[in-house]
Symmetry: C2
Amino acid sequence: MGDKCCKHTTKDKILDATEKLFAEKGLDGASMRDITEAAGVNLASVNYHFGSKDGLMAAVFQRRLAPLMKARLELLEAAEAAAGDSPPSIEAVMEAFIRPAVEDASTRGYKNESFLRLMGRCLSEPIAYIDKHVHPHFEPFIERFQAAIARAEPDLTHDDVFWKTCFVFGVLHHGLHMLSRLNCITFGPDEPPGVEEFVQQLISFTSAGIKSR
Amino acid sequence: MGDKCCKHTTKDKILDATEKLFAEKGLDGASMRDITEAAGVNLASVNYHFGSKDGLMAAVFQRRLAPLMKARLELLEAAEAAAGDSPPSIEAVMEAFIRPAVEDASTRGYKNESFLRLMGRCLSEPIAYIDKHVHPHFEPFIERFQAAIARAEPDLTHDDVFWKTCFVFGVLHHGLHMLSRLNCITFGPDEPPGVEEFVQQLISFTSAGIKSR
DNA sequence: ATCTCAATTAAACGTATGTTTACTATAAGA
DNA sequence: TCTTATAGTAAACATACGTTTAATTGAGAT
């Protein structure tokens, strides 16, 4: 029976290897044989534990996206509670969105093997996969997030809020994507920025963008 | 022999179908059989005209990226010429980057079949493909672009310029990506924004982000 | 009319994919 | 000890992929 405490179960080895290979080679590009070889397990064990490659995708996203969305929601609710009757500032709303993602990326290797590297890529993976495995996690959150922006900046139209939210997504995810690729490119910074520094840079860029017109 | 004037040559039919299918299903996801069937040509004709699927990718990107980069450079140079001795404003630099892309997207169907939909996805396609087919087109431009930003905002450090440039890329490409997907999502605007409106929104968001700290 | 050569085609090739099967190993319960 | 259920495995399966082959077409040149 699965030994949940020890953390080196076959399921976890598969999930870890998959996360890394999906980020590197894409959802289609990483084959079952790539994955099981990297994980040091038998080829058939993926189908045994996850049913199919599709089930494996769902598990990979579920493992990281569920806690991430939870952390964002909690931060947003904390900011709203702290603000009392008035709406929290745009900066506070952006922080709720940005900080959990950057911290997740930083705690898990930061350079190479983070899940957020996969997130960056996921914005534009084959749409069918994203609609199936990623959007369901985002949808409950995005509504609350857009509402918070609308409250903080009451002059924005509904369409303005939609597009600015899109832009914020683009900033964060492409930023994290490039962060994970720093060692692959020649022209970038010599070393990655600190977590706090990066978070602040993202908050100020996105907040200024939202306030602009 | 290929009839260049008539524009309905086999090569063009293949390129058009490929552009659309790459955007929809990804570079790996769109098979040669998908492509040739959509183009109404024989399976083997891709290998005849482009040598391989890799050669087809190169041709697809070359056809759109070369003129796009040229247009951006010309706009940037025009802005620098117009500014005389002083550097052009951040807004002018952003416009040189953003306008050609949005206009390209708008002239080619705008909703569904544009190349920029493919560009949005390309930020995070399997890295090997992008390094091979996309980065070579961007590299000569990105240096000039970053230099223009640095001149317009002299207080920014070299690393600041790098990251802000990344953020601008994220805003534009994900914005265009969502633009092409408007009809697929439920919560977005009822109709797409006008070209000029969208360009201005992108310019103000990115310019404010760059000026922020 | 014949030749020529680029363009096109149907069919096959070899390989890689995700999945399934049938079998073995292991450890706890009665 | 025998049973049972879970976990793991080697091998085969059917399918889809990119590519290649060999044959055919069709229009312009001689």
